[in-house]
Amino acid sequence: MDPSEVEFLAEKEMVTIIPNFSLDKIYLIGGDLGPFNPGLPVDVPVWLALNLKQRQKCRIVPPDWMDVGKLEEIKELESKEETFAPIPSPYYMELTKMLLNHASDNIPKADEIRTLVKDIWDTRVAKLRLSADSFISQLEAHAKLDNLTLMEINTTRTFLLDSLNCMYKLRTNLQPGSDKSNDY
């Protein structure tokens, strides 16, 4: 899967905006939005929020978790836990990137948030690499991956799955008596 497609999915997440225009309710195929009134917060999907922001029609309210204090707690928990700690949003990385790139003026302490999220990401991806390593070396057939986000899975998907397939093919051809030896 392309990272941009993961981002596409993240753009469906809802975010609160404060519009500076008024508009009636919109009846989209994917659900109703609005009504929009100047100064009144309203929830919209990220794709719309970013579009309105680019047209300078709204201010984006950062999600609750996008806050230095909360992120520091999460970072600490993440480095203490051996497994993947629960994460406030399944798209935390993509949302941080998109909101900070397009609306950093609406997010207090944007730079600190960027660094913290990057740290959390690095810790988690390091854990993911470690567990992938032990998954392979112990020849496991099943792994539980709670709290892992789509973007994190995506960083290792192709490499991990292809290597597992290769190893599987090598192994099944090695084991005597397996009639699985194939023609390709």
């Binding site: 753009e11 989209l28 579009n51 496991e140 057939a141 991956l145 709290n147 789509l150 192994r171 084991q175």
Partner: protein, 222 residues
């Protein structure tokens, strides 16, 4: 409650027994898209979803024709249409890619399907697969096979084209709790064991073990 009902009646697909709101319909399309993207084999076609979504899109586009240019609402609707259209075409494209990759096996499966069973392919996909098969054969004959000695002039497509590898690992999220899923051992020394798949949990395991659950919609590939 009355809201849900009035919304549901918007959906013009009267032929489907389970009434869906357009919102649910889009969610279903996205599920199908991700499943198709990540499963190693071609899944059952979801032509009822595709048709309903197409209907919604045309309907919306017709409405937009009547709106004057520069309207904010219209531009938002257009953006949504573009997003849905992207998912729809990506879904159909990944099916076509799989058909191109596994065409003899896809057609073989279609042939061996029992009378009355729903087809894996939509009529259009079936036509595409047949044509692709015929064209490939003609091509191979024209370029190479007819220059071969007579005993080497036939080719068995089923053997020549690799089968989908159902033993691939896939990532999945559980939507409905499942008990006692048998995990086969990787080596002869290991023993098989069972796992319970809790709702909302995520796993990495072989596609073969959970293929029926993907088909029934109990798990979502991610």
């Amino acid at each position: 409650m009355s809201d849900a009902l009035s919304e549901a009646s918007d959906l013009s697909g009267d032929d489907s027994q389970d009434v869906m709101t357009p919102t649910e319909l889009i969610a279903k399309l996205e599920e199908a898209w991700l499943n198709e993207k990540f499963s190693p084999e071609l899944l059952k076609n979801k032509s009822e979803i595709v048709e309903c979504v197409m209907e919604q899109l045309t309907h919306m586009e017709e409405n937009l024709q009547r709106v004057r240019k520069g309207d904010v609402k219209a531009s938002i609707h257009r953006m949504e249409i573009d997003r849905i259209r992207f998912v729809l075409s990506s879904y159909l494209r990944s099916r076509l890619q799989k058909i191109e990759k596994f065409f003899p096996h896809v057609l073989e499966k279609e042939k061996s399907r029992a009378e009355g069973d729903p087809s894996f392919l939509s009529p259009e996909e079936f036509a595409f697969a047949k044509e692709y098969m015929a064209n490939t054969e003609t091509y191979l004959k024209a370029v190479a096979l007819r220059h071969m000695p007579p005993n080497l002039q036939t080719i068995d497509m089923l053997k020549a084209v690799p089968e989908p590898c159902l033993d691939s690992f896939v990532f999945l999220r559980v939507k409905e709790r499942q008990e006692n899923i048998l995990v086969e051992p990787e080596t002869d020394e290991q023993r098989e064991y069972v796992v319970d798949l809790e709702e909302g949990s995520q796993h990495l395991m072989r596609y073969r073990t959970i293929a029926p659950l993907v088909a029934s919609g109990a798990v979502q590939l991610i």
